[in-house]
Amino acid sequence: MFQTAPEISLGEAVSDSHLAAYRFMLRARLLDDKFAALYRAGKIHGGVFLGRGQEALSASLGLALNKTDVFAPLIRDAAGRLAFGESILDAVRTYMGSSLGPMRGRDGNVHRGRPKDGYLPMISHLGAMISVVNGILIARRFKKITGTVGAACLGDGATSTGAFHEAMNQAAVEKLPLVMVVADNQYAYSTPTASQFACADLADKGIGYGIATHSVDATDLTACLKIVGGAVTQARNGGGPQLIIAKLLRLCGHGEHDDAHYIVPELKNSTLGRDCLKVAEETILRQNWVDAAQLAVWRSNIIQEIEEAVAQVQREPAPDPFTEEWRAIASEHLSETHNA
């Protein structure tokens, strides 16, 4: 069922995209690590959610998208967000609640985006973003914009939501260029997949929607680049919606408050439990695309970039409730004026 990476010698284009993806994976991992550290230090309110183990999948998706595409990432998509074009500053500002960030302290952590850039800020309700992506794609069809795709991300658990079902069906009926990426990371919070669904494989759901379906071993960056890239291309070329089921293991707690003690050792020790970042690194070194020294330089540069961003944001103003505009609607003339 898994698409395994071709063990043939890889051409230049492959090394390029592998390295590009790797660098976004690394950025995401290091950024996540920083958020985890800030959380432990009590510097972040609410939760922190990491994409550890999901970077290969997410970065491959972000890279496969053009800047004019639509992207609705979920909680574990730091890599995809960066690859799609999010700045580290936007991420840090949102987690720290800076008034200069895209969410201006009104929303936080993984709930960030810039809708006008095709980058959608998730609401928490799982499955709810997919039909929103459909809507953008339908609007583009009205506007006769062709060649763009919309990608939505989800976890294994969220396939149980009615919202997922309705949106998948909607995309299929309207033949939209939706790429639906399901990270089957074996758990939804503490709930194992056996308590979440009863099909042999989530990929079995595709046929019921009449949607082309792809499976991929998400611990393997090479496979992700190929499968995700291929699905995006298919959608872009008029192939209609694409469902990608990616297998991996969540290599962290649900959030940083969770020690994930419930993850069974059998899974940790299986190939699913491999760290995609390590696997990607090993491929790079084995293929001699760059050497270990270069990897270390990348790593330290990214760390510096992140530290600078955090330092900058920590100096930035927090939102001020007195100057805050407490208005939930755009039409100023229609706001309620009474006091309650």
């Binding site: 895209p102 969410m103 201006r104 009104r106 929303d107 709930h111 985006g113 810039r114 809708p115 006008k116 959608l120 800020p121 609401i123 309700h125 709810a128 973003m129 997919i130 039909s131 929103v132 992506v133 459909n134 809507g135 953008i136 794609l137 339908i138 609007a139 583009r140 009205f142 506007k143 009615g162 919202a163 309705e166 949106a167 069906n169 909607q170 009926v173 208005r327 939930a328 609607i329 755009a330 039409s331 003339h333 229609l334 706001s335 309620e336 004026t337 009474h338 006091n339 309650a340």
Partner: protein, 322 residues
Amino acid sequence: MSNITYLEAIREAQAHALRDDPRVFIYGQDVGAFGGAFKATKNLAKEFPGRVMDSPISEDAMVGMAVGAAIEGMRPIIEMQFADFSTVGFNQIVNQAATLFWRTNVSCPITVRLPFGGTSGGGPFHSQCLEAIYAHYPGLIVLTPATVEDAYSMLLEAVAIDDPVVFCEHKFLYYHLKADKLPSEALPIGKARIAREGRDLTIVTYSAMVHEALAAAVELSADGWEVEIVDLRSIKPLDTDTVMASVARTGKLLCVGEAWPWGGVTAEIIARVSCEGYGLLDAAPQRLNAKDTPVPYHPNLWAAHRPTARSIAAAARNLLNQ
């Protein structure tokens, strides 16, 4: 066109919007070739090919889709087949559409049409009045036109507004109300209308209940009572000023709503007047709502469940005699 119904006004407003604004499209169950369960989109699919789309029975995805289209610059109109079914598209309305502007500074100009309110034989799931539910959430505009003219002009304005609008169109008024012609000018949204002038008592109400109140007022005028009737038109925002000014004139307030009693429009109006216009009242304000049960199927029960001209007149008399 003459003898235009409330329903036709809604159709005309949509035709007008489709004609004038290429960003407008309509999405809902059976709204296409069929013209909608109530025929509110009759012939529009033919007149505007591709812009009146049948949806699957997926209220959640219908609203989510509209939000996405709005982000991309469109002005979608979503038809719920009945207001009651909006409960399964609820999350997308109150958490996706209603929060978008506040969270991202990107506006969300969608219109969700809710054919609502009781009709004979409608029963518990084809009669509900959900305006208070939507008005409680920040980020939504909630409209309840009571006349053919308002059905037309407010729907046009709803589509033009940059915010998500829950447009509550009363099914009972669909065929019952007629007007000679459609208006070219109208009160803006956010302004209430004095539906009848009077000096003795203010009745604040909206939608179908405006007509019950008007009938009650006619009955009461036979006894020499002159009742003023405020048609709120918009539930959120509420035009507190017009209400307050009327109460200042009459000194007495009766609020009437077809919705359930706990915490709806009538409670909100009374709270506002009591808090902000306490000195204006000569007597305790009163309210009249539907009973606190699901809406019954049998016409006998239904007639007793919601306020009517008769029960309004009785409540008004009670207040007037204080």
